[in-house]
Amino acid sequence: MVAPKTDLPQGTLDLLILKVVALSPVHGYAIAQRLEQVSRGVVQVPEGSLYPALHRLENRNLLAADWKETATGREAKFYRLTRKGQKQLETEAASWQRLIDAIALILGMANGGAR
């Protein structure tokens, strides 16, 4: 059975992209695949919004890009993280973590209260 896919919460696509790109320079198609794999099909990344997001991040100097040849011999645009992007990733990841912790705490508390 296929689990119903959740929509990506607003603003998280950028964070995910940054995280993926942080591992190694990578092109758009690979990012799409990686996101798909990593989220194990739970999170739906609309491919249509991937490229605008990449261009937006490049525009804000969080990503940089170079044209390189892939293993298959095609020329592709490889994105890599800039120093500014690295910093952004760290702060955003940290704030997400805080948010998740806080929500978990509240949810846990609610359970406790019911008992």
């Binding site: 758009g28 249509g48 937006r56 095609r74 020329e75």
Partner: protein, 879 residues
């Protein structure tokens, strides 16, 4: 990458975007093929997964952040195209806007130069002028010289203080004898202003004292004129009023202390008896605030010093306060209200122009409804359409504005030269970045104003209706909006027309006012006696007798007289007076203008004698001192009872009281317009022959000759100048003017404003008529099928005309009603700002409004007639 760099590399970026997406699709398709899909199916699925390459590209372009500017270029090109399609419309709109913004820009250029730019002194905002102030007569007072020293030593808020007064005299060497204007200045004047002489130096403090060696700073122009601009001028000598001065400095070109002067001498060396007199307030004072001191702080300190002086010298300083104003205010004088008034008037014209273009654009927008609906159907957002419409109107606005700047460049010079009298700071009136910024903002703002209404009509809903209806029928809201435009134009035009009417009536009234004397055929000119005779009162008196005698003998001259003050000319001499032996409190003493004249003055000026006699040749030194007063003073001092034979006390006169021997009619000394409002209106005539010796010297330096001629007065000017050269050839005439010119100049401001308002009102009327015509034509065109139907059902041509005219007049009447309210307010403003204006006159409305009605009728008549000639058959076929 900067946004402009991205913009620059747009083409390359487009290619890369295309390549990047192609790569994605290919990879995806390859993978799908590897999983067993057929190639064409794989391609299709890859495309579907991506969600349409064109849409993705659009979003990527948006992400680039240069979207707005690309759209702008696109809209801009589109706007140019649409405007080119209808050149007639574009030309009318641009010309209308150019007129409006050009006139506004001219006004702003003047305001910028005169009111906004700082004066051309270092840290000019710290320069202040000081004035004496009394309860009764306001701030028209100068300082006495001892008082100036008191303030100079007492003030802590003012870093430095300087004093000056008017001077001047005949320069005899080097070169021909010539009268020059001068200023007596304290040694600190140049340093207070922060402007050093261009050559040499300013005065030293030790030179600013009685008995010091005579030194002078001369103007740049005198230096060029008389010394050929030579470097060796410093240290050379110059003979002024028979006294030799060493030139120590040259003032910069354009240097002015209340107007330009040619020669500056140290005030402290002046032997004028008034220098020691605490009651002679003839010294002008300016100062520079200490850093970090506000005007208010300085003001507080001045009040404290004034109170202390009032206790110390109650006789002269009781009730005398001190006020400080920014120097710029003094330099600019009273032109601010005139300038702001004119700016207001041109803004109204600009507003009418905007409304006009707005209604034109609106008419076009309605007929373009189909085009806009089509764009929406093709996916354009509403915001995008609004932006496109606004781009179109800004193209119009900016073209109009650019043309307006050209018009302003052409118009600014004539405007300044037509200014009544001389515009203060005229040399500062130039186009600069501030003016350009203003012109640009005005045109952008006005394009927003006239572009918004049509733009907001961009269809959002009812596309189908828009596409099908093709703008043939007219929604009620559009019709209402058109009517509002017409009403607004009419209302604005009424305001301007009535204002022009008020000014016109004011001019008529002022020009028909009795000035109190006969201005025709009178010439007045200052005479500078030979310096050789000035020091000796007897010689000076003889020289004046000689001047009179020679003047009288000149062919074409009927009579000649001397006078120190000439009506309507710059300069006055006011004295305190009272009619009871006990003088009133010092600050309660009434003031009168005193004229020192010779007996023939009555005949020369044609002043009416009301009672008693005028001064005569027997009124000389040794005889009883007598005066003649005007009916104003008689009214104030004697409340209507016969003043002849009564006594009058004149402040500062050694031989008080004097006897009144006659009463004459009031002379409008302050000009035709200004006299009614002036504070000092009472007049006293005193015989020149009865002047005590000590006063002869001072008065001799300000006396004028006045002559009544039987020929054109200016034609005797040259003969008079030649005749009065005097035995030494060093007697000169200056300020030669006819009384007619002086009287005319006294209402120059009113005339100038009348002309401008007349032009503005005419322009407003024309624009309003074009607007009415355009809107009615348009509305009637839209109603052709309806009218055809009415006619087919039996309406006559008359009925149709009535229909259209009725519609037009409904709008016009409402516009007039609103306009009258505005005009009443404008009238109040004019009354307040311009001497001699009386706004509360219903006849002005009764004259001006029919003019507007007639013009409006004419403008609506043409479309109405055209409508009445519609052929019902062809009209119905259009449907």
């Amino acid at each position: 990458m900067n946004w402009w760099l991205r913009l620059w590399r747009r083409k390359k970026m487009e290619e890369q975007l295309e390549k990047e997406l192609r790569f994605h699709l290919n990879e995806h398709a390859d993978e799908l093929i590897a999983h067993g899909s057929a190639p064409d199916v794989a391609q299709r699925n890859a495309r579907l997964a991506l969600g349409g390459p064109e849409q993705v590209k659009e979003k990527c372009r948006d992400a680039r952040g240069t979207r707005w500017i690309e759209d702008f270029f696109q809209d801009f090109r589109h706007a140019l195209r649409t405007l080119r399609q209808r050149p007639g419309f574009a030309v009318v709109a641009i010309l209308t806007l150019a007129l409006g913004s050009g006139a506004t820009t001219v006004m702003f250029t003047v305001i910028n130069g005169v009111l906004l730019k700082p004066l051309a002194y270092p840290e000019a905002d710290r320069l202040v002028t000081l004035h004496g102030k009394t309860e009764k007569y306001g701030e028209q007072w100068g300082f006495s010289y001892p008082e100036f020293h008191d303030y100079q030593s007492a003030s802590r808020t003012l870093g430095s203080v300087a004093a000056w007064t008017y001077g001047g005299g005949t320069v005899t060497k080097p070169g021909e004898a010539e009268y020059v204007f001068g200023r007596l200045i304290s040694s600190g004047l140049f340093s207070v202003l922060g402007i050093p002489p261009v050559e040499g130096r300013a005065f030293l403090p030790q030179e600013d004292q009685l008995g010091a060696a005579p030194v002078a700073v001369i103007s740049y122009s005198l230096w060029q004129r008389r010394f050929g601009g030579s470097k060796e001028t410093i240290g050379q000598h110059l003979i002024l009023e028979g006294k030799s001065y060493t030139v120590v400095g040259i003032a910069p070109a354009g240097f002015r202390v209340d107007g330009e002067a040619d020669i500056y001498t140290p005030l402290g060396q002046s032997t004028d008896p008034r220098m020691q007199d605490r009651a002679a307030f003839f010294i002008h004072v300016l100062g520079r605030l200490q850093p970090n001191v506000t005007l208010a702080q300085a003001q507080t300190e001045l009040s404290v010093i004034a109170r202390r002086l009032a206790m110390q010298y109650p006789e002269d300083n009781q009730g005398r306060g001190m006020v400080a104003h920014p120097l710029s205010q003094e330099v600019v004088g009273d032109v601010r209200p005139t300038l702001l008034l004119l700016l207001g008037a041109v803004s109204l014209v600009l507003l009418i122009a905007c409304v006009n273009v707005a209604s034109l654009l609106l008419a076009r927008a309605v007929s373009r409804e189909r085009e806009l609906a089509m764009r929406v159907a093709l996916g354009a957002g509403r915001g995008r359409l609004v932006r496109q419409c606004l781009t179109e109107s800004s193209v119009l606005g900016i073209s109009g504005g650019a043309l307006g700047i050209v018009l302003a460049l052409v118009g600014i010079h004539p405007f300044v030269s037509l200014w009544p009298g001389t515009l203060p700071r005229a040399e500062d009136v130039q186009l600069d970045w501030r003016v350009l910024f203003f012109a640009l903002s005005v045109s952008l703002l006005s394009s927003l104003l006239f572009g918004l209404a049509p733009a907001l009509r961009a269809p959002a809903r009812n596309l189908e209706h828009g596409l099908r209806g093709a703008g043939r029928s007219l929604g009620g809201s559009t019709r209402r909006l058109h009517s509002v435009f017409v009403m607004a134009e009419v209302a604005l035009a009424v305001v301007l027309l009535v204002s022009a009417g008020i000014l016109g009536r004011t001019m008529l009234r002022l020009s028909s006012l009795d000035p109190g004397f006969n201005t025709q055929n009178v010439l007045a000119a200052h005479v500078a006696l030979s310096p050789a005779v000035l020091e000796n009162p007897a010689k000076a008196r003889a020289a004046w007798e000689d001047v009179l005698e020679r003047g009288r003998r000149l062919p074409g001259v009927q009579s000649a007289a001397l006078a120190d003050v000439v009506p309507m000319r710059v300069g006055e001499d006011s004295v305190g007076y009272w009619a009871t032996p006990v003088p009133p409190a010092p600050d309660q003493i009434p003031l009168a203008l005193i004229s020192i004249v010779t007996p023939d003055y009555l005949n020369v000026m044609g002043i009416r004698l009301r009672q008693g006699r005028f001064l005569n040749e027997q009124d000389r030194i040794g005889h009883e001192i007598v005066v003649v007063i005007d009916d104003n003073l008689a009214q104030h001092a004697f409340a209507g009872s016969d003043p002849v034979g009564k006594s009058l006390w004149i402040q500062g006169m050694p031989s008080n009281p004097v006897r009144i021997v006659g009463m004459v009619g009031h002379v409008r000394h302050w000009g035709l317009a200004g006299d009614d409002q002036s504070r000092v209106r009472d007049q006293i005539y005193y015989s020149f022959h009865q002047l005590p010796d000590p006063l002869v010297h001072f008065l001799s330096s300000v006396m004028s000759i006045t002559v009544r001629t039987s020929v054109t007065p200016l034609s005797v000017a040259e003969p008079l100048r030649r005749e009065l050269r005097g035995p030494g050839g060093d007697q000169t005439l200056y300020d030669v003017q006819t009384m007619d010119d002086l009287a005319r100049a006294s209402i120059d401001r009113q005339r100038f404003l009348l002309w401008l308002f007349g032009i503005f009102a005419g322009l407003a009327l024309l624009l309003a008529c074009i607007g009415i015509y355009g809107v009615l034509t348009y509305l009637t065109n839209q109603r052709v099928p309806e009218i055809g139907l009415r006619m087919a059902l039996g309406a006559s041509a008359r009925d149709v005309m009535q229909l259209v005219l009725g519609h037009g007049f409904g709008m016009i009447l409402i516009g007039i009603a609103v306009g009258i309210l505005g005009a009443l307010a404008a009238g109040r403003l004019l009354e307040h700002l311009i001497d001699g204006t009386r706004a509360t006159d219903p006849s002005t409305f009764a004259i001006m409004i029919p003019i507007l009605l007639a013009a409006a009728f004419f403008a609506s008549f043409i479309p109405a007639r055209r409508a009445s000639r519609i052929d019902p058959m062809s009209a119905l076929r259009q449907e």
